[in-house]
Symmetry: C2
Subunit: 498 residues, 2 copies
């Protein structure tokens, strides 16, 4: 074979994996947005069949040989080397897990999910516990199958945050907690701002139109994407040319639709921004979930909750909601959308306390997987730590340990990526400000320059460069909490007169 | 292996094919209804990858061995025997066509389609001819690869109408033509009815709501299906529990949305009606396209254009379109939706002349594939025959030989299934009337009994029984044009006072 044939043989298999991934993406999107209720069971079977085929093709020894052969070629580009690296990583992971184990895990996830849903109606943790215990046993087994020279938690974390290790993450997040708990406390001691302006009844169609207007301004390409509605907002799609955002609309809470849209738009802009040379490859993807999340949080929080944002959008919002926002100014809107509160539910919390919710989960899941904490003890530890970090005692386990679906899905190592996203987003703001007048651009609604900066620094690279390294290059900083704390102090210091 | 294992090994592969077919169905539906324009290219690649995998798994010798092993089992049910028969038929067809040929054919279809679209803008048949000539050469090659002891046309027809042969179809359709040409002529000599009532501007949202109301009444299960919009209406979906109709709305032509919806609903009711024991099998499908089409035409024409239909629905329509239909009665509505005219375009024609459009195409495609007519001569023969059958001379080739996409798609043997659908639908009406007061039920909006009859006689059987045989059992008649001509004479004799 010529070098070109050798690369072609590898590329054909890589394209096939990418295409199957795109189709699986469509199945998932359709299930949450379109599929009639009666079709869900057939859809689950179709998805399982497709996933099994994709898995068979991934672990096929011939794919491994194609990777090895391509890897031996001279004169590969940096992008091609990265494609091979990612292909090998995906294959290695997949070959370590026996098919029978994968099926057992999937079944137990499904059972645990059902138990979780049921327990949320009864309110009894005891109805959830046995299923979660069994799932955690399997996750420990999975970690042992996957782990190299790191800890069990490292093995699971690597799925979401490749290259990250517990020994670096733990002190980083402990430092953040040490700074954040007293900072949050100072704010929570202040009088709470009035948010009633956000609770007026806002016409759903007008909310949707407003969100679409904002997405267009931010630069989301509707020739290569769309926005629909779903119960839980998410970003899906089948390719960088077909990116699908979803949002939800709550008539009496204006931020629900707007910030869900802007958050998902951050994800969507990122995926639309991968360089064309990466499409259909293993690196037309995020190098880490934390990096992906940094884009959504940059748009939702850093930009979307800024004073400049409301200076630009309050007049636009008034056009969409005639007469409903005449008695508030831009600062009033910012105050309302930046309210900090002792909110028991993570997804309803604010920029300041959000990471405390995450730290709590991170600490617990590490102890669970390293078997230092038993599932049975979760509610007690959860509630004690909520009191310690946030000064709030959950009134039951539904607003306590049973509020999130992640553990029932078997996602261990996922939660910290939310906080990494926040840390990265503040680092990006700091770096962007060295090149651009960010507030001035937002105030003028000139979002193009911001998007161009992100495209160049982050989006176009896909997973060619590992996530932490790419962020180091983009922000000029090592991963840490300095930039994020400075960002919080600037914004919330002003809003709360600290 | 036990008998159960042997059946299970076959069933697993059959289910996989069914699931992949469902996913391909979703890709096709999404492309026409949802996919953003920029995503089409990625979608085409994903579809090609999935189709290639499905084809590989279909021709896999291990599937053939699983079929043989299951076929050797004793005590199989009629349904199981039918599943094996259909699996074997699909595999035999697929193994006869080399992969390189399939790719060449797909590429030439795509090129011919593009040439067709281009020629429709220039109006020049010469811009279309070379691509169509090359495609016809490939179709002849395909027929020679596929044909058994029948003609080339038989080999292609078998794709759409399994078991049907040209030697039976030709006299059947010649007989129909001999009866239909003078019948149509008598009607066309009469004064044309006034259709202006259908051309008033009807609110699109109200049209959609009216169509949904009708679909609900007819029995379409929205828990297991939905209706969306697309440029060309079609019935898609992924499984009998997920059937997706599309319609289109023309503000100034009321029948466009209504009858597209009702037509597709006929297809959709059929697919929702397959017995649960057939799901995920090779026989949860129509045994022939003609049979499938009989269901859509039964609902659209036989029921949907009846006087009884408008006696029931005119008051409902008046609620949806206040003040717009006050000056017309049920008979006036029926007269308008049953107008017979010298329409050059097949899809805009009426029940009486529709089949003449089909007969013309059928005769030409048989002569093309048997090489008795050259592509270059198509326009002249087309126009001459239009004048002979319909008394109309197309003003150019766009409203003549270049009006349909079918030949550019390589569909040879498809057109006659439309007419078979019409013949079967009239046979079903005749049989149904022996059991039910069809007009009375329609007039009362009591569509449940009609659906139950069709479920029992037709829908639940899927492809267990070959199409013509199932229709013989349901109608009590051999395939022929008597019932259809009697139906036309009854309806149009009354409407046109013949």
């Amino acid at each position: 074979m010529t070098g070109r044939d050798t690369w072609g043989a590898f590329a054909a298999r890589m394209h096939e994996q990418s295409d199957l991934g795109g189709v699986l993406g469509l199945l998932g999107w359709d299930e949450q947005v379109i599929c009639p209720p009666g079709g869900r069971e057939a859809r689950a079977l179709q998805g399982a069949t497709l996933a099994a085929i994709a898995h068979q093709r991934l672990v096929d020894p011939a794919y491994g040989e194609a990777i090895d052969a391509a890897d031996a070629l001279a004169d590969l580009t940096v992008e091609q080397r990265a494609m091979l690296r990612e292909a090998r990583r995906q294959r290695d992971k997949a070959t370590k897990l026996p098919e029978a184990f994968v099926r057992r895990l999937a079944e137990q996830r499904s059972r645990t999910n059902q138990a979780w849903e049921h327990a949320r109606t009864t309110g009894a943790f005891a109805d959830y516990r046995p299923a979660l215990e069994e799932l955690m046993r399997l996750k420990i087994e999975e970690a042992d199958l996957l782990r190299g020279d790191g800890t069990r938690y490292d093995a699971l974390l690597d799925e979401f945050e490749p290259g990250m290790r517990l020994e670096r993450l733990q002190p980083l997040l402990a430092d953040l907690r040490a700074r954040l708990v007293p900072f949050a406390q100072r704010i929570l001691d202040r009088p709470a701002p009035d948010v009633s302006v956000l609770e007026r009844g806002f016409d759903p169609a007008a909310q949707e139109a407003f969100s679409l207007r904002v997405l267009r301004d931010l630069g989301f390409d509707f020739e290569r994407g769309r926005q629909d509605r779903s119960t839980h907002p998410f970003t899906g799609g089948t390719a960088p040319t077909d990116i699908r955002l979803t949002t939800r609309i709550w008539e009496h809470w204006l931020p629900a639709c707007l910030y869900a849209s802007v958050h998902e738009c951050g994800h969507g802009l990122y995926e639309q921004g991968h360089a064309e040379s990466l499409w259909r490859s293993t690196v037309s993807a995020a190098p880490s979930l934390g990096l992906h999340e940094s884009q959504s949080r940059l748009y939702e929080n850093v930009i979307g909750r800024s004073l400049a944002f409301w200076e630009h959008y309050l007049p636009v919002a008034r056009e969409h909601f005639p007469g409903q926002l005449d008695d508030v100014d831009a600062l009033g809107m910012q105050r309302a959308v930046c309210r900090v509160a002792r909110t028991p539910i993570r997804v309803e919390s604010d920029e300041v306390t959000y990471n405390l919710h995450i730290l709590l989960r991170f600490e617990l899941e590490v102890d669970l997987i390293e078997q230092r904490v038993a599932v049975a003890d979760l509610p007690e530890i959860w509630n004690a730590r909520m009191a310690e970090y946030l000064g709030y005692a959950p009134k039951d386990d539904v607003e306590g340990v049973m509020q999130d679906v992640h553990w029932s899905e078997g996602y261990i190592g996922y939660f910290p990526t939310y906080t990494l996203g926040n840390l990265y987003s503040a680092g990006l703001l700091e770096a962007m400000r060295r090149d651009l007048d960010v507030d001035g651009l937002v105030r003028a609604g000139a979002f193009g320059a911001i998007l161009a900066w992100l495209r160049e620094q982050v989006h176009r690279h896909g997973a060619v460069t590992p996530g932490e390294e790419l962020m180091r290059e983009a922000t000029g900083r090592d991963l840490g909490s300095d930039a994020f704390m400075a960002y919080l102090e600037e914004r919330y210091g002003a809003l709360y007169g600290l």
